[in-house]
Amino acid sequence: MSISESDVLNIAHLARLEIETTDIPKYAQDLSSILELVEQMQTQNTDQIVPMAHPLNATQRLREDNVTEPNQRDLAMAIAPAAEAGLYLVPKVIEEQDA
């Protein structure tokens, strides 16, 4: 399976990455070769193998349901690019609507 140039643009858009047009063929090639590696692995029979969810052979530890985090809003707001009235400010996002 190979990645087309429009696939590259779509992936870049989904990841919100700005890429140079001139780099697209190289990305397409790089991504395609990753998929080729996957294809090569897929030739192995894995019927009896449970998919790995994590490289460590361990399971999730749990914490008690207690409130342990104090309010640190002022600290966090101090490093935010924009904040007002206790809110973080971000550029407006408008959903596309047909209404």
Partner: protein, 481 residues
């Protein structure tokens, strides 16, 4: 053409924990913006999520209560999308291996019909924050207090065939999570939200039509309206030669319509993968059995018990157990009134009748009732021991509702005690008969219907206080004699 409606619901139930699903920040509703959003919720670099013990227990409880398989191994995955109220750029959810798989819930449609709705899965995930679109110099304000709040997303099978069935399912589910104590069910505060997947197909066709998903419908009434709107829209589209697009739509309660929110093709490309920050969740069968023992009496079990213990019919019992608060209220009244099954039926009638009507009229929940269980019990006691008639009881109930107080002092103050002294009633009846000679003659010449007239006159003369059975008996004797 005759169309069949196919509905599946996705419900987000906020789990009733003190702290977030992956952090120790508080989940209390209504706090000052961003005061309950810690470094983990903000998605700062270097932080690690740690799973809250109680969400696992709550999800397990839910799974057991709907007869589902509680997975002994489930995996958290990242659902990737960009939106400002999602600071990490992904939502931690469960995808391929959810904690609860398969299950079912029985819904009561009316007195004689019930239906079983399949539950596909239920998985744990974190909630996003909230965007405030008021103008902050052309920018959007973000409150991340809700980010990281634990949710159980409960996905139904496409088993519902009308908006009415969808509402019945939603109510049954709402009641269940309240019984289990895993969600406060507050729809106004967003603790229990619903997305509706709706499609239509020609009756008899096996394949599903293209569906739309209507987001965040936050009341039972709106769910019904939103689905009906969407069904009509899709029928109009197909009948005029158009096509239904698979898309996410938003319900606008003010306009009572749904509108396109985003087209699913792009937005749905979430690129799920197992979250490397979280290990697989494993729970033992011993743990599952331990949680099973903690399960409270469930709605269907309570219904059976009410039928047996209080000799109620199936319908009365199912209405009473439909909310835990109502069931508790009913039992509190019955226990105070005592004196057996006849009283239980009377209590059921009052709770489902006058009390529910008054609550509906004032848009109150039974937990907010101005007439408390002890007050209603005081009233019903006096009906049972014949101190007052049912008719007078309604007047006293009105007083209790408006002004509070207790039945005995209202009876005392307003002189409402039932007249059960045969001599006194006879005297009044004699007067009534004496002052209506014409009606008496007509009655005696065969106009039986006039019996009601005499009952009415007698009750009026006693201001409704005469014991109705005695009035009937004595009147019969006198009129016929």
């Amino acid at each position: 053409m005759e169309w069949e409606v196919v509905i599946g619901l996705e419900v987000h139930a906020q789990l009733a924990t003190q702290s977030k699903i992956f952090s120790g920040a508080a989940t209390a509703y209504g706090a000052e913006p961003n005061t309950q959003a810690c470094m983990i919720d903000l998605g700062l670099p270097g932080v690690l999520p740690v799973l809250n013990k109680d969400v696992v227990r709550m999800a397990t409880k839910f799974g057991l209560s709907v007869g589902a398989k509680v997975s002994q191994r489930s995996v958290f995955a990242r659902k990737n999308y960009f939106y400002p109220d999602l600071p990490k750029g992904y939502q931690i959810s469960q995808y391929e291996l959810p904690i609860v798989e398969g299950g079912q819930l029985e819904i009561q449609l009316d007195e004689n019909t019930s239906k079983v709705i399949g539950i596909t899965r239920a998985h744990l995930e974190e909630d996003a924050g909230k965007s405030l679109h008021e103008d902050f110099h052309g920018m959007t304000g973000i409150d991340l207090n809700r980010a990281g709040t634990p949710l159980l997303e409960i996905v139904s099978e496409p088993d519902m065939r009308s908006a009415k069935e969808a509402v019945a399912y939603l109510k049954a589910l709402h009641s269940l999570v309240r019984y289990l104590g895993i969600c406060d069910g507050n729809m106004q505060e967003g603790s229990f939200r619903c997305d509706a997947n709706v499609s239509i197909r020609p009756k008899g066709q096996k394949e599903f039509g293209t569906r739309t998903e209507t987001k965040n419908v936050n009341s039972f009434r709106f769910v019904e309206r939103a689905i009906n709107y969407e069904v009509d829209r899709q029928i109009d589209l197909l009948e005029s030669g158009g096509k239904v697009m698979q898309e996410t739509r938003l319900y606008d309660a003010n306009k009572n319509q749904t509108r396109t929110m985003r087209s699913k093709e792009e937005a749905n490309d979430y690129r799920y993968f197992p979250d490397p920050d979280l290990l697989p969740l494993e729970i033992s069968s011993e743990y599952i059995e331990e949680v099973r023992k903690e399960l409270p009496e469930l709605p269907h079990e309570k219904r059976q018990r009410f039928q047996q213990q209080y000799a109620l019919n199936a319908y009365d019992a199912s209405v009473l157990v439909s909310s835990l608060d109502m069931a508790d209220y009913f039992e509190a009244v019955v226990n105070t009134v005592g004196s057996g099954n006849k009283a239980a039926k009377l209590v059921a009638n009052w709770v489902m009748g006058d009390l529910s009507a008054a609550l509906n009229k004032d848009l109150l929940d039974i937990s907010e009732s101005p007439v408390k269980a002890s007050q209603l019990a005081g009233l019903i006691k006096r009906i049972v021991d014949n101190t007052i008639s049912g008719k007078i009881a309604k007047i006293i109930f009105e007083t209790l509702w408006q002004e509070g107080g207790d039945t005995d002092s209202i009876i005392e103050k307003q002189g409402l005690k039932q007249i059960t002294d045969t001599g006194a009633i006879e005297k009044i009846i004699d007067e009534v008969i004496a002052s209506n000679p014409q009606q008496l003659e007509q009655y005696r010449s065969g106009k039986d219907k006039l019996f009601g007239f005499f009952v009415g006159q007698t009750m009026q003369a006693t201001k409704g206080k005469a014991n109705p059975q005695q009035v009937n008996e004595l009147l019969k004797k006198k009129l016929d004699g």
